[in-house]
């Protein structure tokens, strides 16, 4: 009995109820489906990338500097999001909120550079969604990821507000943990955008 209680004392809040465990499992199933969603967009892009219809191609548009800035902003935000969950598991609410705020700011920085990149393409280089099959699939793929980041930012903001109002309990801890899974997942997708869209586009 005593041993069980001790085991339980060491279980993180987000895993402390059966319902929470099921919710977290459910979110992993959702992430599996998201893999399939992004796979279809990646497949479309990679098939259509040579179809530039006389418009600008990847090697004329992509710039390593912008892409690297975006990559490091999102990678660092994923790291700070991990630190937020780490602080939560140490029972440090303030530390957790602090790292979540840093995560949101880095995510917003990423979005700023991405929107600037899109405006540069569309307004200054005449590369819009209507220009070619390559650009339609490019904006759909990268834009879908960008929308996910935007949703993630608002989601985490609302969760921070809820933690401030209700404190850290089994429910709010689960919400922080699940939103952190979502945020890390966005970086997983970005790794493949960075590699399969940008690096590959600049090489060939």
């Amino acid at each position: 009995m005593a041993e069980m209680a001790q085991k339980h004392a060491n279980v993180p809040l987000e895993y402390s109820t059966k319902q929470n465990q099921l919710n977290i499992l459910g979110f992993w199933i959702f992430l599996g489906a998201e893999f399939a969603l992004f796979a279809t967009l990646f497949a479309t892009y990679l098939v259509l990338v040579p179809r530039t219809a006389g418009g600008p191609g990847p090697e004329e548009l992509y710039e390593l500097k912008t892409v690297l800035i975006e990559t490091f902003l999102l990678l660092t935000s994923s790291f700070t999001c991990g630190l937020a969950v780490y602080e939560m598991r140490r029972g440090k609410k303030t530390g957790m909120i602090g790292w979540l705020i840093v995560t949101i700011l880095l995510g917003a920085g990423f979005l700023y550079f991405e929107i600037e990149e899109f405006i540069l393409y569309a307004v200054h280089e005449g590369a819009t969604m209507q220009t070619s099959a390559f650009l339609s699939s490019f904006f759909t793929l990268v834009g879908t990821h960008g929308i996910h980041v935007t949703i993630g930012i608002f989601w985490i903001i609302f969760i921070i507000l809820q933690v401030l109002k209700r404190g850290l309990n089994a429910d709010t801890a689960r919400k922080v943990f699940i939103s952190s899974l979502y945020w890390h997942f966005l970086d997983v997708i970005w790794i493949f955008l960075f590699t399969l869209v940008y690096l590959t586009g600049m090489v060939s």
Binding site: W28, I29, F42, L75
Partner: protein
């Protein structure tokens, strides 16, 4: 739920994962722009690096194997990755190489 625990001390795992991710990213950039390898080799190598980095996120940051349902979570993701590879590689194979054959 053997592996799930509250945390103590310094987040070494996260710092290690972060540094490794930076190294892998820079390695991919170096291979792409400075290695002088043929394009196909470059693409194969950077895709391998991307998968390594994805696993760092999944295991070190997302704690994929943790919790009472850890093995289920991992199974779900491996299945997702399997579907993703089939869709992406299959589409490229059918649309690119199949298309060329007709000309």
């Amino acid at each position: 739920m053997a592996q799930t625990q509250n945390e103590k001390g310094f987040p070494w795992k996260h710092v290690f994962g972060f540094l490794l991710s930076i190294v892998l990213t820079l390695m991919a950039v170096w291979i792409a722009f400075s290695s002088g390898l043929p394009a196909k080799t470059i693409i194969a190598l950077i895709v391998i690096l991307a998968f390594c980095q994805a696993f760092i996120q999944l295991v070190l940051f997302m704690h994929m194997n943790e919790g009472a349902n850890g093995s289920w979570q991992a199974t779900m993701i491996y299945y997702g990755i399997y579907i993703a590879i089939v869709i992406v590689a299959g589409s490229i194979w059918v649309m690119t190489f199949g298309h060329q054959h007709h000309h």
